[in-house]
């Protein structure tokens, strides 16, 4: 049973990323300033309503305003709000500016597809294969270039994925159909997944455990079910898990080599720009 509290600060899910504490601190700052203004204004309203209520013998005054007071209560909020905005910009830069993304310890691709999350790991060679929109199909959601040998051992998982703790992870985010949004509440990060773009998101989780990834952009009737599970693990555990996946992938590749499947016809035209995978538009 949930304990209801009037203090909305108590509702935050546990924050486990390197910037969740700073985010929550900023939220708390704004909260207390807002709470103070809220109480002051509501109290003033109530006091005035009571004190100046119409009653026998009571009169209103003939008064049109006061320019000095106008100046003061224009300047004070301007200083307060502009100050708050300028102060908050540092946090914004940390979370969102490409130039502030720390050197990645690990890079993965994540795509949203109505209604699943798919994650691509680099595989045994440690390198993500090149990708391009022209290669995208239902069987090749990431559009991995079939000619790139680095892509062959890439591992694609759906619905559940693991990451190591205390590592800077850069996610290259996109979508294969409509807008989705990558929302990890415990990390305090969210970013829209835009089809046709690859957008960089970075996070560093400091606590192992099971966390949920939610889609936060309406993507169709199954939007509510577009949930994935992220397992954060200590280095050694993650390494073991990754080994297991790499081995499994090798087995799959070996099986395919033994029983070749008919190849799907290559998709049509379009001159090929070099298929980089940093912030490209394919």
């Amino acid at each position: 049973m949930f304990d209801f509290s009037w203090n909305m600060l108590t509702y935050f899910p546990p924050g486990i990323s390197t910037y969740s504490e700073a985010h929550d601190d900023l939220f708390r700052l704004v909260y207390w300033i807002s709470a103070a203004i809220f109480v002051l204004v509501q109290l003033t309203l109530v006091v005035f309503i009571f004190r100046y209520r119409a009653r026998p013998g009571h009169k209103s005054i003939y008064y049109h305003g006061n320019n000095v007071v106008e100046f003061v209560w224009t300047l004070a909020p301007t200083v307060l709000f502009a100050g708050l905005g300028l102060y908050s910009d540092e946090m914004w830069k940390v979370m969102k500016y490409s130039s502030r993304i720390p050197t990645p310890d690990m890079e993965i691709d994540v795509v949203g597809q109505a209604f699943n999350w798919h994650v691509r790991y680099p595989g045994g060679d440690g390198i993500l294969g090149k990708r391009h929109a022209r290669y995208r199909s239902a069987q090749n959601l990431f559009g991995i270039d079939p000619a790139d040998s680095h892509g062959k051992d890439d591992i694609v998982l759906t619905g559940e994925f693991n990451l190591p703790i205390n590592k800077n992870v850069v996610v290259h985010l996109s979508s294969v159909d409509v807008l989705h949004s990558y929302f990890l509440p415990n990390f305090r990060i969210k970013q829209d997944a835009v089809p046709g773009s690859w957008i960089e998101v970075w996070h560093n989780g400091t606590k192992s455990g099971k966390y949920e990834l939610a889609c936060a952009e309406l993507c169709g009737s199954g939007h509510y079910a577009m949930r994935a599970v992220l397992n954060m693990q200590a280095d050694a555990d993650f390494a073991k898990w990754m080994e297991g996946k790499i081995t499994a992938k090798k087995a799959v590749l070996a099986a395919e080599a033994a029983n070749p499947q008919p190849v799907a016809p290559a998709p049509a035209e379009a001159a090929a720009p070099a298929g980089e995978h940093h912030g490209s538009s394919h």
Partner: protein, 612 residues
């Protein structure tokens, strides 16, 4: 006319427009020209009012279905569930596809068919000519067209329920690629395009009327704040809505011709019921989904000011009247409205912090957005200054106006959180946003609309509404409103996303079900409380006490017209001698001094006016 009216005529040395009198003497029109295709601004206002009230109930019903599903997922909707078709419900319980249609249609109806027509259709039409002392709008036929576009647009969008795939279901924000296919989305686009033109035509008319048809002696700074607010809102409508029309046109082209304006190349198509009819979005190519968002929000942010600014004007006039005191800082209030309107055009990106647009824009939009809190704060302080040392009468209109101040402050403060980019990263698309929206649009706009409806009811219908029922409606609504919407801030902070058919699929949201149930219970109570208002409005039409001309002893020009004015509005010449807020003036023995009372004849003219 009574002997008293004759006294007025003799008191005027000024001109009485003979042709004006002549027109109105021979003015018998057919029932259709009088009530259906009327060009009289007061009738058009009532048409807007009735249509908006109808859509309020429709949009409210949609909200209650949403709330029911969030509180009791999979449970049949009580009473009405069994009557809904199988395409929408399963054993009377909302289905996921229907849910996404509900969230879309609830917002679409409330924004485009309730608040905007009420504020800029009903109030603008009723108040502007009367408050500036003229006979009608500058362009009465354009006015009529601007009304009729609303029901036509409404029918267009609602017809989506009857097409294959159902009505629009991509949210009222209608982001492509999701919105780029489906007949329902196409009908939505057409409907919004049409209702947008209602807004543009209305705005044009109000600008022309306000600038050209003010009564003799009325300078711009003699206009009441209701008129100023509507005037500035009209500028927003005329400048902003065409951009919405462009967005709709471009999306229509993508929907019908697969042009690829918003659609990037090689998207995967219908998959597990994503596009209900299995429609192909088209190979597309080179399109940018984010472009839609820029075009849409360039209008839709000013749109939220279109929805609140007229109300701020109305509330100012009501507070002054019932505090028996001038609005504090009239000119500052005008400049604050102008500032809000101007800044409203440069903040749209705060809806797009996470869209994938350049983060540098996040910085700039954060700064422009957060300073828009300043003119709004100025208005709040000025309203407090108005009631300070006033003589406050707690009539129903004033209760609603005071309630507006209380809830608007809360809504404005929650806006500060989302103006700050890094905080918005977390609360975007959560119930914190939903809480904010409803505090400003319901707590703000709708309470202000209620205030205006009760305030001008006597002038609109010539009858008094029932004061006891009015007070009861206010208190019940105010209490249930706060209990319903305040907890949404909490679950928003908890990460509860928007537009989610079944939140309890997520472990971290399971604990919030009791809160969702609490919210739903008060939402239902709040919905049913509105029936008191509807009953009061209709019952008083027939059984209400006959209203005097100026029941509130207010100062503005509409109260010079007869109760329930006829075509042409005024039964006397109107000249303006002073500003609209001369309450407690030393020039008068009474605590009010209307704008039209001649300076040398204050005592006798006010006495005569009171006898009507």
């Amino acid at each position: 006319m009574s002997a008293v009216a004759t006294q007025h005529d003799h008191a005027h040395v000024g001109t009485h427009d003979e042709s004006h009198a002549h027109d109105h003497a021979h003015h018998s029109v057919s029932f259709i020209r009088k009530y259906i295709f009327s060009t009289d601004h007061k009738t058009i206002a009532k048409q807007f009012l009735a249509t908006s009230m109808f859509f309020l109930l429709v949009g409210g019903a949609f909200a209650l279905f949403i709330r029911w599903q969030l509180a009791y997922p999979g449970e049949p909707i009580p009473l009405v569930g069994k009557w809904l078709p199988d395409s929408l419900v399963s054993n009377g319980a909302v289905q996921p596809g229907f849910y996404t249609q509900l969230v879309t249609m609830h917002a679409t109806v409330m924004i485009f068919f309730v608040i905007i027509p009420m504020a800029t259709g009903a109030f603008a039409n009723f108040c502007i000519p009367l408050m500036i002392g003229t006979d009608d709008m500058a362009m009465p036929t354009v006015n009529m067209v601007s009304f009729w576009l609303v029901p036509i647009a409404g029918l267009t969008i609602m017809s989506g329920f009857f097409v294959e795939g159902g009505t629009a279901a991509a949210g009222w924000t209608n982001y492509p690629p999701l919105s780029a296919s489906g007949t329902g989305h196409m009908l939505w686009v057409i409907g919004v395009f049409l209702v947008g033109f209602s807004s543009i035509l209305g705005g044009m008319n109000y600008l022309a009327t306000t600038l050209n048809k003010r009564a003799k002696g009325m300078r711009m700074f003699d206009m009441p704040l209701t008129v100023w607010a509507l005037f500035i809102t009209s500028i927003l409508q005329v400048l902003g809505t065409p951009v919405l029309a462009s967005a709709m046109s471009l999306l229509f082209v993508d929907q019908v011709f697969h042009a690829g304006i918003f659609i990037p190349e090689n998207l995967l198509t219908a998959n597990g019921g994503l596009y209900p009819s299995g429609a192909n979005v088209g190979a597309g190519g080179g399109g940018q989904p984010v472009l839609w968002q820029h075009l849409f929000w360039f209008y839709s942010h000013p749109a939220v000011y279109i929805m609140i600014v007229p109300i701020m004007g109305v509330v100012s006039d009501i507070l002054a009247t019932f505090a028996r005191k001038a609005i504090f800082g009239y000119k500052a209030m005008v400049f604050a409205i102008m500032t809000i309107a101007f800044l409203g055009f440069v903040v749209w990106g705060h809806h797009m912090f996470l869209s994938g647009m350049s983060p540098l824009l996040g910085t700039t939009f954060m700064l422009s957005t957060i300073v828009i809190a300043v003119p709004s704060s100025i208005k709040i302080f000025n309203w407090l200054g108005t009631v300070w040392k006033g003589n406050i009468h707690f009539t129903t209109p004033n209760l609603n106006a005071l309630g507006f101040i209380s809830t608007f402050v809360c809504g404005g403060l929650s806006g500060v959180f989302m103006a700050i980019g890094p905080i918005d990263v977390y609360i975007h698309d959560t119930y914190f946003i939903v809480a904010h929206i409803h505090y400003v649009l319901f707590g703000g706009s709708l309470f202000g609309i209620f205030a205006g409806m009760y305030y001008w009811y006597p002038k609109m219908f010539g009858k008094m509404y029932n004061e006891t029922l009015g007070k009861f409606h206010f208190f019940l609504t105010f209490i249930t409103f706060n209990l319903c919407f305040f907890p949404m801030h909490m679950i928003g902070v908890g990460g509860h996303m928007r537009r989610i058919y079944d939140p309890y699929v997520y472990e971290f949201l399971k604990p919030f079900q009791p809160i969702n149930q609490f919210i739903t219970i008060f939402a239902i109570a709040m919905g049913f409380a509105q029936l008191i208002l509807i009953f009061n409005l209709l019952w008083s039409l027939k059984f209400g006490r006959k209203a005097p001309r100026n029941p509130w002893r207010a100062n503005t020009l509409e109260w010079a017209a007869p109760a329930h004015p006829g075509h042409g509005n005024f039964d006397r010449d109107i000249t303006v001698y002073r500003g609209p807020y001369e309450f407690a003036s030393p020039e008068s023995k009474r605590d009010y001094l209307p704008q039209w009372i001649r300076p040398a004849h204050i005592e006798q003219e006010t006495a005569v006016a009171e006898k009507h």
